[in-house]
């Protein structure tokens, strides 16, 4: 899976949690989940679970703490997929 495909999948996962439609439509590598998409911080936990399920990976708490924007999340998912 290339970076574009991965980002597109992540965008689908994020959708139900975002309350800022404009920012969601303009989803880029630099999009921040909380600052830009107004995602409730508690929902980050649910996003991680959805990511784990979609990509069949396990994300450690230390990684999760860093997954606050698209760029970092994609890198972490790529690393996990590569390690499979």
């Amino acid at each position: 899976m290339n970076k574009e495909e991965l980002t597109a999948q992540l965008k689908v996962i994020i959708k139900p949690y975002t309350t800022n439609t404009d920012a969601y439509e303009n989803f880029t590598e630099d999009t921040d989940f909380i600052k830009d998409l107004n995602i409730n911080s508690a929902n980050l936990v649910d996003i991680i679970l959805d990511i784990e399920e979609t990509f069949d990976i396990v994300i450690e708490n230390t990684d999760m703490e860093r997954m606050l924007d698209v760029k970092t999340s994609v890198v972490i998912i790529e690393t996990k997929l590569a390690a499979k």
């Binding site: 139900p16 949690y17 508690a42 929902n43 936990v45 649910d46 679970l49």
Partner: protein
């Protein structure tokens, strides 16, 4: 001078009617919401009938966002939110998104437990070593104050936001707590109510106590029989009732519809002394709760036109009537009309007091006393205390001015509130 306190909004999710129009129709026409429950049968309950509100997916979607419904598994919060928001809208209060808390408005919304199905689901996951996969909403759905927290967030409430809990007197107690807070000038309006989960995990303990109705599994509509000679236990129920309790001045300023006035009330406990215990009421305390409520309301017992009793359809119904006769000093023909909503809804436990208070207020506003179903065979111990004419079997068109509502609960706790038709 103490503030006058009125009711300006009503909402209900009851086994025999979801929403005020459907519920009003049901109680006027003696429509039962008790149905056979296949899950209770499969789980070998002795009582296999129950009162469960019917909530369509469409209705859910009107009150909860798609995100909120992900992993949502709490019937109590579901019922409470629907009833609470209906009451709020019914009171003509705004729902628009604002950025500031409404400091003048709060909620006291009781429950017996919260999200028991979510709790069960979580316990299975925890035992399967899946704690990290529980998701983010287990706390919100299973904390007892889940319902007041959901409502507080949806309505932007900035005054007290709390959940009270006093078993089957919870709903009536919530109304009295709201009344106290408004009367003392600490809030302009409180969304008062209570909710109760559905399902075997909430009802099993009662089935185990052998206090539920088990002889009408093939005849659900006849299973809940308060005041009947053939009453043999209560039918478990669930749902939610909600009332916007408001300072009269504020209600008049807003030009709100006023459904009724709350004259006063009282809560107490029998301390599990005398004939009181964890599961049985101390009669002295019950009588005292009623007389104190009457005194607190500044009326006399002869002013009471009707009573909406607790009357669950156990062997304690006659004792409750006896307590009313002693507390009021009235019996025979002089006794007020009395009815029990539980004949149509079953015993909605923590939600009972609020759903029944909604029914009581509707009677004052629309001018009727709803009929009791399933008690054509009145219990002889009851007819030896009060004349049968005091227990309407069909709805009566009349114009009650004052109705007393009482609820009693496990732990020997009592609550009695006095409602009056509103007159300036």
């Amino acid at each position: 001078m103490k503030k006058r306190v009125v009711i300006t909004g009503l909402g209900v999710v009851a086994p025999n009617g979801v929403g005020i129009p459907a519920f009003t129709h049901a109680i006027k026409n003696g429509i039962s919401g008790i149905q056979h429950d296949p899950q209770l049968e499969a789980l070998l309950f002795s009582c296999q009938i129950a009162g469960k509100p019917e909530i369509s997916e469409d209705l859910k979607a009107q009150y909860f966002t798609e995100l909120e419904l992900r992993g949502f598994n709490s019937t109590g919060i579901l019922y409470g939110v629907i009833a609470g928001i209906e009451a709020w809208k019914n009171a003509g209060l705004p729902l628009q998104i604002n950025n500031h808390p409404d400091w003048d408005s709060g909620t006291v919304f009781g429950s017996g437990t919260s999200g028991i199905d979510k709790f069960r689901e979580s316990i299975y996951k925890i035992d399967e070593l899946q704690t990290r996969r529980l998701g983010s909403t287990v706390v919100a759905q299973t904390m007892n104050s889940g319902i007041s927290a959901y409502l507080g967030g949806k309505l932007g409430l900035g005054n007290q936001v709390t959940t009270n809990s006093s078993a089957c007197s919870t709903g009536t107690e919530a109304i009295i707590m709201a009344y106290d807070r408004i009367q003392s000038g600490q809030a302009k309006r409180i969304l008062a109510g209570s909710t109760g989960d559905s399902g075997p995990y909430i009802w099993a303990g009662f089935d185990a106590l052998r206090v539920c109705s088990s002889k009408y599994n093939d005849n659900p509509g006849e299973g809940s029989r308060p005041m009947s000679a053939s009453a043999a236990g209560f039918v478990p129920g669930s749902g939610a009732g909600a009332l916007v309790v408001e300072d009269l001045e504020s209600a008049l300023e807003r030009g709100a519809t006023i459904y009724a006035e709350i004259l006063g009330g009282n809560v107490n406990s029998g301390g599990q002394r005398g004939n009181g215990s964890m599961t049985a009421p101390n009669s002295t305390a019950v009588q005292r709760c009623i007389t104190d409520a009457i005194q607190n309301s500044g009326i006399s017992s002869t002013d009471i036109d009707a009573i909406n009793g607790h009357l669950t359809a156990t062997t304690k119904d006659a004792l409750e009537i006896e307590n009313w006769t002693k507390a009021l000093g009235l019996d025979g023909h002089d006794f007020p009309y009395i009815n029990s909503l539980k004949s149509m809804t079953g015993h909605c436990l923590s939600a009972a007091g609020s759903i029944e208070s909604v029914a009581t207020v509707l009677q004052l506003q629309e001018g009727f006393i709803f009929g009791n179903i399933n008690c054509d065979d009145l219990h002889p111990e009851i007819t030896s205390l009060i004349h049968p004419s005091r227990i309407p079997l069909k709805t009566i068109e009349t114009n009650p001015t004052i109705i007393a509502k009482a609820s009693f609960g496990f732990g020997d706790v009592n609550a009695c509130v006095i409602f009056k038709k509103f007159q300036k």
